[in-house]
């Protein structure tokens, strides 16, 4: 057994086990932490497959950003476990039924799935071993399929603008900070120097 194979089994075992823990652990924060463990192990599998760029992007995007926001939200939720567990027996039969149907379908698909050798050989972009996979990905995304890539980017941009427009409410009568205004203040506009005569005080 080579070391690579050992690591493959190590990563896969931890991945499957922690994926199971994601759905079975009682505390939602623990679920998210197991989800992170799953991501990290998936990145390890990517590394073993030689896709180091994808592995690190997976860690960077999913673990470093998405899961942080996940954890952020889940931690602030106040979840009542007794409330959550109340209906579990009631929904159990239909849940199990759906699970069985899904499993059978997946088994059917996975059991009969064959990738023809011609498909792999004649794919649009053959794998070029002479360049690093960062550069190879760049060539596929930014050179060969640049218009599709730009199209996807524009769709994402529109979605982002839409989300902002939907949630942004500009309330009036709210005091807002104007940084430029604050920086531009000088003693002339900010301070008034008054000579106070003794015994008279300041008339206002």
């Amino acid at each position: 057994m080579s070391l690579t194979l050992f690591f493959f089994y190590l990563f896969s075992t931890i991945l499957v086990a922690s994926a199971f823990m994601v759905i079975s652990s009682r505390n939602p924060v623990h679920s998210v932490l197991f989800l992170i463990l799953t991501f990290v192990n998936a990145a390890g599998l990517f590394l073993l497959a030689g896709a180091e760029f994808l592995a690190l992007i997976l860690i960077l995007v999913y673990v470093g950003a998405v899961a942080v926001l996940f954890l952020f939200v889940v931690m602030m939720l106040d979840i009542d476990f007794a409330e959550l567990k109340k209906g579990i027996l009631q929904y159990m039969p239909i849940g199990v039924l759906i699970g069985i149907v899904l499993f059978l379908e997946l088994a059917l698909v996975a059991g009969t799935w064959v990738v023809l050798p011609e498909v792999v050989a004649g794919s649009a972009m053959p794998i070029d071993d002479t360049i690093s996979n960062t550069r190879a990905l760049g060539q596929v995304l930014y050179t060969r399929y640049v218009y599709l890539f730009q199209g996807a980017a524009i769709i994402l941009l529109i979605a982002m603008i839409g989300a902002i427009v939907l949630t942004l409410h500009h309330r009036k009568n709210v005091k807002r900070q104007d940084i430029a205004d604050q920086v531009a203040r000088d003693p002339k506009t900010a301070v008034e120097i008054v000579k106070i005569k003794s015994g008279q005080g300041l008339e206002s």
Binding site: M1, S2, L3, F6, N27, V29, H30, L33, I36, E52, F53, L56, I57, I59, L60, V63, G64, A65, V68, L69, L71, F72, M75, M76, I131, S132, T134, R135, Q177, I179
Partner: protein, 366 residues
């Protein structure tokens, strides 16, 4: 199975039994680097306190050892021999896991740092991405610690910290992209080599003035943004809001004491030194001597590297002493409304210049 045990033994001991020669000494080198790093961090910590004290016209730690040189080790012993107190209402496993996560992640990033030509423990193709990914995971130690403590202050500190680190990672990422545009490679060794072979000194016809070649000059605004973002990313003052003691007692570390606290502190300082090393590699020419003439080139590269790291760290601690703490909304404004637009704009500028002039590095391992 036997073969696997033998190969695992090779791996651990570095003794070549059956064709695992390439792993010889990897563990030894790693251990050497780890010990050296920890000793250095002890003195970085001392230097931090000494510089801070000097700015405030105090002496700083000066009792343990001559000039207080053993202060950090005395602190280490003190922390280790204290009793760890775990709050009764805390989530014990996560509570104790959090400091480990912080330390391990901070140390793991050092695997790819090249101290000299060929002196990286692991010279991987995507080195800069690896560091960026690992340092983005540093948040987890803080969030887990803050949540598991089951304390309001700790939790608020953790939430602040998460938002802060996610925000400043964005601008650090864009700064790194501009450097990568110039270099054309994600390998850290390539980034350092590229700085010696292109730049202002070559254009002026004085290639021995190496320090003019380095990226701090052509990318000066990005250098500044990277420095400030690195301060925010490592929770250094003036951006130490996660542990703002005037508002949150000690932020996410309130409930921690003794060894777990020490591990948080250690992880934080290792991350700070890592950011100094990254600044050195990206902008200050890594292990290259500042002038390519006789007395400077006699000094070996790793000494230059360490000197540069010390220089950047000196700037880090001077900032800590000089600048008052930012307010939280000011911090967010700086990250999202100032640094992000400037760095995106600079990516366009750099890409445009490279496209129009054909400047850039065309070597390396592609």
């Amino acid at each position: 199975m036997m073969e696997f045990i033998v190969s695992a033994l090779d791996y651990l001991l570095g003794i070549p039994f059956l064709g695992w020669g390439e792993h010889i000494g990897f563990i030894y080198k790693g251990l050497l680097m780890l010990v050296a790093l920890l000793v250095f961090v002890a003195y970085f910590l001392l230097a931090d306190r000494k510089i801070w004290a000097a700015v405030q016209m105090r002496r700083g730690p000066n009792v343990v050892g001559i000039f207080g040189l053993f202060q950090s080790f005395a602190d280490l012993l003190k922390f280790v021999f204290k009793e760890p107190v775990i709050p009764a209402s805390s989530n014990k496993f996560v509570f104790l896991l959090a400091p480990f996560v912080t330390v391990v992640l901070a140390l793991a990033a050092w695997v790819v740092i090249p101290l000299d030509y060929g002196w990286a423990l692991s010279n991987i193709n995507v080195g800069i991405l690896y560091i960026f990914a690992i340092s983005s995971l540093g948040i987890y130690g803080i969030i887990m610690g803050g949540w598991a403590s089951n304390s309001k202050y700790a939790f608020l500190g953790a939430l602040r910290s998460a938002a802060q680190m996610v925000s400043y990672e964005v601008s650090i990422g864009f700064v790194i992209v501009t450097v990568l545009l110039l270099v054309g490679s994600l390998n850290l060794t390539d980034i350092v080599l590229a700085q010696a072979e292109m730049g202002l000194a070559h254009m002026l016809g004085v290639p021995w003035m190496n320090f003019l070649n380095w990226f701090w000059l052509p990318l000066f605004p990005m250098f500044i943004i990277f420095f400030i973002s690195a301060l925010a990313e490592t929770n250094r003052p003036p951006f130490d809001l996660p542990e703002a003691e005037s508002e949150l007692v000690a932020g996410f570390m309130v409930e921690y004491g003794s060894t777990p606290y020490m591990m948080f502190m250690l992880g934080e300082y290792v991350a700070i030194v890592l950011m100094c090393a990254l600044t050195t590699i990206l902008f200050l020419g890594g292990w290259a001597a500042p002038l390519e003439i006789a007395p400077f080139t006699w000094i070996p590269g790793f000494i230059w590297f360490i000197l540069k790291v010390w220089l950047v760290f000196f700037m880090f601690s001077i900032v800590k002493a000089f600048v008052p703490r930012y307010r939280y909304d000011q911090l967010m404004r700086l990250g999202w409304k100032v640094f992000l637009p400037i760095s995106i704009f600079m990516i366009f500028v750099v890409a445009l210049v490279l496209q129009l002039t054909g400047w850039g590095w065309h070597g390396g391992m592609a």
